[in-house]
Symmetry: C2
Subunit: 156 residues, 2 copies
């Protein structure tokens, strides 16, 4: 596999979140670099955050390790313990099962970018720290529930 | 897990290669960022190449996906098809089982750095493209053989 031509990798926008959550991640887009390079064991995405955008709802993964390196601009990483400014070269790791949820916000006037790596587990549960929502993903299908496991039908 | 303090991550030097190959990767060092952050499913290393250094013998992995992003300076990526100059932000992906071996050379006068991600497979075989050598790694133990599978006892 030669050097990846990033200009040829489709820009992914949108979200699998149900509303009102999908609208909260407008301004986020990504390049699925690992997929573009034929990788199947972990995903590698270059995430781009427009000014004011957030990377995702704050969340943690049951089954999948995750790793982030900021590559451009400046992000704020939010966790249970508070906020941390992240600049190019700054890294953070989120071991599977660690319940300290995280996400990244761009509060600057310029685009911010980060590389994110995550294992592709056969079955994954992501739990959203600040809202009554979690998602089970298996065989490519996502099922959103409240944290008590019942089907999600709207904010609660 | 908060932002990783890279200044506190031990700098790994040396190589598991037998001589004369270990000497060929002098000038290479790395920070094991994934390990430092408690990750177990994939490794994330920040590799530093001094001027003149090479990242590894040219190789390919049987079981493990691998992904590289250059973060500083300039490297030459060498594959079966020839050489490609890689600069910060440039990426390459190496799917498990793809037999096109790769490594990275720093032919500049400045340090070059890249981030490399690789799955942590239970059993791995790496094959070295340009010499009669391969290595089987299982349960943390490495066994070097010739490509015909017999124990390696020196160059051939």
């Amino acid at each position: 596999m030669p050097k990846l031509d990033l200009s040829q990798v489709p820009v992914k926008t949108g979200s699998i979140y149900p509303e009102p959550y999908a609208s909260m991640v407008k301004g986020r887009s990504s390049l699925r670099l690992g997929d573009a390079g034929g990788l199947t064991q972990f995903g590698v995405n270059l995430v781009m955050l427009e000014p004011g955008a957030m990377s995702s709802l704050r969340h943690w993964h049951m089954a999948e390790d995750e790793f982030v390196m900021v590559t451009e601009g400046e992000c704020v990483m939010v966790q249970d313990g508070g906020e941390t400014v992240m600049r190019p070269g700054d890294c953070a790791a989120f071991p599977a099962g660690s319940t300290d949820g995280h996400h990244f916000l761009n509060r600057t006037e310029k685009v911010a970018k980060f590389l994110v790596v995550g294992t592709k587990a056969k079955r994954e549960v992501a739990t959203y720290s600040d809202v009554d929502l979690k998602v089970e993903i298996e065989a490519g299908k996502a099922r959103f529930t409240y944290k008590d496991g019942t089907d999600w039908t709207g904010p609660r």
